[in-house]
């Protein structure tokens, strides 16, 4: 396949894919590969604040928990949350975008104005407000993020549908006699799908990052969740001597988000160089 | 052989140019020859892909990144342009001694800058710059000679506010800004409608005469050559097959390709004619004379080596086995 060959020449993108695969494997098999599973949520107070060593690769934190184990388990949490959020955002945004793009009435306008409202405020701020509304905790953080991210999917889909609509209308009118929903699902969706996949990949990276920020601020994940952001907040108190409690979770974020960004970029260049302009 | 009393202003000798592509090396130009005499308009005619644009770029020293000249010389007076450092080519040659008129007036201008800024750009750093006001006055008088309406205010406008023909006039003025001796025109009328085309051709004729310019005019249309040019070089697949005074070439074309090309022209051919076959790819060009696969008079020697140039009737040069050993007719 020509596209596959072209993709393989884009070294950063391939690297990104490798990272994502690694991260996914780690997340799936985390309970099996983690060395001290019992030391993820409950620490051994005798071994608190120990620096990295052969026994504890990333050292231990203030409660005696194995930092390496926590970082590994945090991977699972991060991916679960990100997948849920992106899935929700797609679930709301894509149908909305399809509808708004395909129809011409005031309903379409309403949807687009609604996205304007949600996009009028930077995402984190809106997520803060919504999280405030729904109480603090991981579920409300996820809902807040989904609510702030669906407009991007809606916009992307809307743009694609509008772009394709004129071409397809003619085709449909030329005696295929297809119904609206058939046109939508059979013809439009595959074309739109590639744009959605690109945005979803980038969205994964973005969500992981934002979830970590919310965790750090104390709004998202709650203890004893090994969420990376939360771990950094907890580890902050004992700096600078215990640098490992803060550094390694941060590297976890860096590594994972980097993978999604690199791969997302590669996908974007592959699918449509025109999309390079949008986020 | 009648000698030309003057020496050519610009001479291309046996120039070969290679351009690297993903599929291999493309031999765009193969031992091309050209001579531009002072005060004349010399046409360069050929189909798309014959290498005429590459020839222009080679003269200006702006071959694409993966392109290079592998043999030959480009002589401007005494100096070989191929040996000049990039610095000199940019500051002295391009815009200074050689002006350039591009093909597409709709794309040549930067849309976010005023026309005046761009027209004055070449005068900024060229020797003999007369200072900002001097340059501006110079440009305005040039705009008058290219018959652009309202020259004083034209400089403050943006390119999209002008028509295609007007933009071409602006580009002609820009080419002349630093009083070059030579002007390269790369199919400057292709993008325009027929009426405007005629006007521009007349303008170019007039300007060359008034200012004693020498012009290299690249085109695919022999009709334009007939109208405008004094002498012409015919190119095919990177080789310069024939050259000479226009009237002579039109009345007695020697090279088989020239003959067939002329026969194709709607004004000349009785029936709608074409040339059988297709132009070869520069990646795998035919050996020897590149036209031989399509030539009705081809012989065995044609694929072996490119025949040497021979002179006819004093001024007509042709590279063809048909005329190799024979004396001038």
């Amino acid at each position: 396949m020509l596209i596959l060959k072209k993709f393989l020449r884009d070294v950063p993108a391939v690297l990104g894919l490798l990272i994502i695969v690694t991260v996914c494997l780690v997340a799936i098999f985390s309970p099996l590969i983690v060395p001290n599973l019992d030391m993820v949520y409950d620490g051994d107070l005798i071994s608190r604040l120990k620096p990295p060593s052969a026994e504890f690769w990333f050292g231990t934190d203030s409660l005696g928990r194995d930092v390496f184990a926590r970082v590994i388990m945090g991977t699972r949490g991060a991916l679960e949350v990100a997948l849920t959020v992106v899935a929700l955002a797609i679930g709301i945004g894509v149908p909305a975008g399809l509808y708004a793009g395909y129809s011409d009435g005031w309903g379409s306008q309403l949807v687009m104005r609604l996205t304007d409202v949600f996009l009028a405020v930077p995402q984190l701020i809106l997520a803060l407000a919504v999280a405030q509304l729904m109480g603090r905790g991981l579920e409300s953080a996820m809902a807040a993020l989904a609510l702030t991210y669906w407009p991007f999917f809606c916009r992307t889909v809307y743009g694609e549908v509008r772009r394709l609509r004129s071409a397809l209308f003619i085709e449909a009118q030329q005696g295929l006699g297809a119904s609206t929903s058939r046109i939508l699902f059979v013809h439009l969706l595959p074309n739109v799908a590639s744009a959605v996949i690109v945005r979803a990949t980038i969205g994964m990276g973005f969500t992981i990052m934002t979830t970590a920020v919310l965790g750090f601020l104390g709004i998202g994940a709650t203890p004893p969740n090994p969420d990376w952001g939360l771990a950094i907040a907890e580890g902050r108190e004992y700096l600078p001597q215990t640098w490992w409690a803060v550094t390694f979770p941060g590297l976890g974020i860096l590594f994972t988000v980097l993978g999604f960004n690199l791969f997302g970029d590669g996908l974007r260049d592959l699918v449509d160089p025109r999309l390079r302009r949008s986020r | 052989m009648m000698q030309n009393t003057a020496a050519p202003l610009l001479e291309v000798r046996n120039l070969s140019v290679l351009v690297g592509t993903d599929e291999g090396e493309a031999r765009i130009l193969d031992r091309a020859n050209l001579a531009l005499m002072p005060g004349s308009i010399h046409g360069v005619v050929g189909e798309s892909g014959c290498g005429k644009s590459t020839l222009m770029r080679a003269i200006l020293g702006i071959l694409p990144k993966r392109g290079r000249a592998t043999a030959g010389n480009i002589l401007l007076g005494e100096r070989d342009l191929l040996t000049l450092p990039a610095e000199i080519l940019q500051s002295k040659v391009r815009g200074g001694q050689i002006g350039f008129i591009p093909q597409d007036p709709y794309q040549a201008f930067n849309p976010v800058f005023r026309v005046g800024t761009q027209l004055l750009e070449t005068s900024r750093t060229k020797p003999g710059a007369a200072g900002r006001d001097g340059d501006k006055a110079n440009i305005i008088s040039l705009l008058k000679s290219v018959q652009l309406p309202d020259p004083e205010h034209a400089l403050d406008r943006y390119p999209h506010q002008f028509s295609g023909g007007q933009r071409q006039r602006l580009l002609i003025a820009a080419a002349l800004a630093c009083s070059p001796a030579i002007v390269l025109a790369d199919e400057p009328t292709t993008a325009l409608d027929v009426t405007t085309q005629l006007q521009i051709l007349k303008l170019l004729r007039r300007l060359t005469e008034e200012r004693g310019l020498s012009m290299l005019f690249v085109t695919h249309d022999f009709g334009v050559v007939a109208q405008l040019c004094d002498t012409v070089t015919v190119m095919y697949a990177g080789q310069t097959v024939e050259s000479g005074p226009v009237s002579q070439i039109l009345s007695s074309p020697l090279h088989p390709y020239t003959r067939m090309l002329l026969a194709c022209h709607p004004d000349r051919g009785a029936a709608l004619a074409g040339i059988p076959g297709a132009v070869s790819s520069p990646l795998r060009p035919p050996s020897g004379c590149r036209f031989h696969p399509r030539c009705p008079s081809a012989r065995a020697e044609c694929s072996v080596a490119l025949p040497p140039r021979s002179e006819h009737a004093g001024k007509q040069n042709v590279q063809c086995v048909l005329y190799g050993a024979e004396a001038a007719a």
Binding site: V117, V130, V213, L217, V246 | P111, V112, T122
Partner: protein, 336 residues
Amino acid sequence: MTRFVLHRLLLTIPALFGLLVLTFIMLRVLPNDPSAALAGENATPAQIAAVRKAYGFDEPLWKQFVIYAGQVGSGDLGNSIISNRPVVRDIAERLPATIELTFVSLLFAACVGIPLGTMAAVWYNSLFDHVVRVVTVAGLAIASFWFAIILQMVFSMELDWLPLRGRFPVGLPPPMHLTGLYLIDSLLTLRFDLFGQAFGHILMPAFTMSLAGLASIARFTRAGVLETMQKEFVHYAEAAGYTRRRIIWVYMLRNSVVGATTQIGLLFGGLISSAVAVESIFDWPGVGSYAVSAILTSDYKAVLAVTLVVGLIYSIVNILVDVVHAWLDPRVAEKL
């Protein structure tokens, strides 16, 4: 041009109105029955009803919204539970600090990012280009709050080169209030010592915040320049004898940047978002840290007020960006 500006303004108003509705909904949904809370723990149903009537909570929802809209319009966004002062006052006091931080970050990001992106494009596919590409992608993957802490750890705790937190040394009186921006004010009053203090304090927070912006700017500058390099007018400029320096830095850059100005709005949004965490970490007395403390203390009026104010500012910035875009590229304004 004025038509364009008006058109743009007209487009923003429904969005802001929608935001108002959204915050109203959040305000009303939150404390489910505010009258009960206001009436106190042991209030009788009659007392609660009286409170409800007094505050107008028994009015139809749309009427309450009108009252709310009127309040917002006149600048009354309620009082902070914590400070007991009008929220608007709290925010207004803290705004200059955030503006200063954001502006310095943006300046640094642009001054480094644009040349970096341009050179990466000009030297396409070179080692420099590859390094820039990887670094910029990595820059977007670095959590700003994490980076802030690392910086604090290294430069403040370990090396003691820079102050750990705050906008200005404690106890030292800040420069005379002219603009509210310490850096400017200290220069205007020729107090270079105070400038040094303010600069030392803003260094780490601004650098942290500029990271993502720098990466972003370098990326889209590079993409823009790459695209511009293909354009005919660049080939013409070369053939006509323009100097290489002017072609890159004057002619290509404006086109590349023009296309990129649409990204600046998004960039600004990103800056605001990172300001929240960064301000908290560095104890920077701005709107971001205010929002965080408001959330943690459930000061919901403050949170919603910040949302509204940030939304307003963000929308204004986007309008300005579009206007600048139209000014730079005259075709945009005429297309309408």
